[in-house]
């Protein structure tokens, strides 16, 4: 199964410097940082479950820019109803890519309840997303991302990635409030 770094690399190939990324915390954040962010990126913090709605707010505030939410499955599972809210608003500039590994990688690799049977793609379809693609291989992921990013409307891609542990890194020099100010400045750069 594809690892999350490869997945982040494939996403990076589709991004432009104008795209605004909201990056989920934990192993998704570690993967995206490792491949290197392309444009303005807002990195999540606790509490989990909140960042899909942050991406929605950003998409509504900046209809001139594409907003890409990189989600972890443990994170998204905490607040599934947000998918219904997003699908109802259906901002044409919002894209969601889910890293689905069925585990809480940064807290020790514990398995999600229902990990073996859970289908986020089915949930997204049921929530009202019209474009939903599930990918299990590198080739499928490439094609799914092409469809997602070449499309002109809201879409959701669930990529199955291998389970691995992703221990939390030491805090950087800037706290979230400071990063927030720099992010806002970078949007107008």
């Amino acid at each position: 199964m594809m690892d999350r770094i490869t997945c982040a690399g494939l996403i990076k190939q589709k991004l432009t410097p104008k795209d605004i990324v909201v990056c989920g915390l934990g192993s998704v954040e570690a993967a995206y940082k490792q491949v290197g962010p392309v444009g303005p990126t807002y990195f999540a913090s606790d509490p989990m479950g909140l960042w899909a709605s942050v991406a929605l707010g950003l998409a509504l505030a900046r209809p001139d820019r594409r907003v890409v939410f990189l989600a972890g499955d443990g994170d998204l599972l905490m607040n599934l109803q947000v998918l219904a809210t997003i699908a109802a608003v259906a901002p044409a500039n919002l894209r969601i890519v889910l890293f689905q590994n069925g585990s809480y990688a940064s807290s020790g690799g514990q398995i999600l309840g229902g990990a073996e049977t859970l289908s986020f793609a089915t949930i997204a379809r049921g929530a009202g997303f019209k474009t939903v693609i599930e990918a299990r291989t590198e080739d499928e992921t490439r094609k799914a991302l092409d469809q997602l990013f070449d499309g002109k409307s809201l879409g959701f891609v669930a990529v199955h990635v291998a389970r691995d542990k992703s221990p939390s890194e030491a805090p950087g020099p800037l706290a979230q409030a400071e990063q927030r100010a720099l992010f806002m400045q970078s949007l107008d750069a």
């Binding site: 942050v54 707010g57 505030a61 109803q81 809210t85 806002m184």
Partner: protein, 172 residues
């Protein structure tokens, strides 16, 4: 309150004067008129929520993108969203306005509402988040002023509105 101006009119006018044009809401009986008018107003983007902490996220994302927003919900929603308010909005210093129906006090009539009136203010205080209680429509100028305070202090500010400040009195 000037004739013909319902609390909903006054609140929406205050939001607009403060530059707020995005509203995320979850209904309460006392909020029906306000939410209906937000929905009908072409100058307001209205997002219907399924859970109040998603409203915190939407308002925060809007601010990151340079847009001012408000969350409209019941005070039980403030209690539900306190982790998002105190853990994210406070920590990232992201401002917006919360307009919440202050259920569960002398002006309410249900056993199950009472805990909300008892808990909401001390919980907001413990989280270090500013709030004001609005007793009636004559104090609805606090919508604009509260929003300005929120954006100047880079914190979410909550207005807890009693029944009188939300529900227009019937004629006669």
């Amino acid at each position: 309150m000037p004739q013909g101006e319902t609390p909903a009119h006054l609140i929406i006018a205050g939001l607009k004067r403060a530059g707020i044009d995005l509203v995320a809401s979850l209904p309460d009986q006392w909020l029906g008129d306000l939410i209906e008018q937000c929905d009908a107003d072409p100058a307001i983007t209205h997002v219907k929520l399924a859970r109040e902490d998603d409203g915190v996220g939407i308002c925060a994302g809007a601010f990151l993108g340079g847009r001012k927003a408000a969350l409209i919900c019941q005070n039980a929603g403030v209690l539900l969203a306190i982790n998002a308010l105190g853990g994210m909005a406070f920590h990232h210093q992201i401002p917006f306005l919360v307009i919440a129906a202050q259920r569960g006090a002398f002006d309410d009539g249900y056993y199950y509402q009472m805990y909300k009136g008892r808990l909401t203010e001390p919980v907001l205080k413990a989280a270090g988040l500013p709030h004001y209680v609005i007793d009636g429509p004559e104090h609805l100028h606090l919508v604009e002023q509260g929003a300005r305070q929120a954006f100047l202090s880079r914190l979410p500010l909550t207005l807890l509105l009693r029944r009188n400040a939300l529900v227009a009195k019937r004629e006669g």
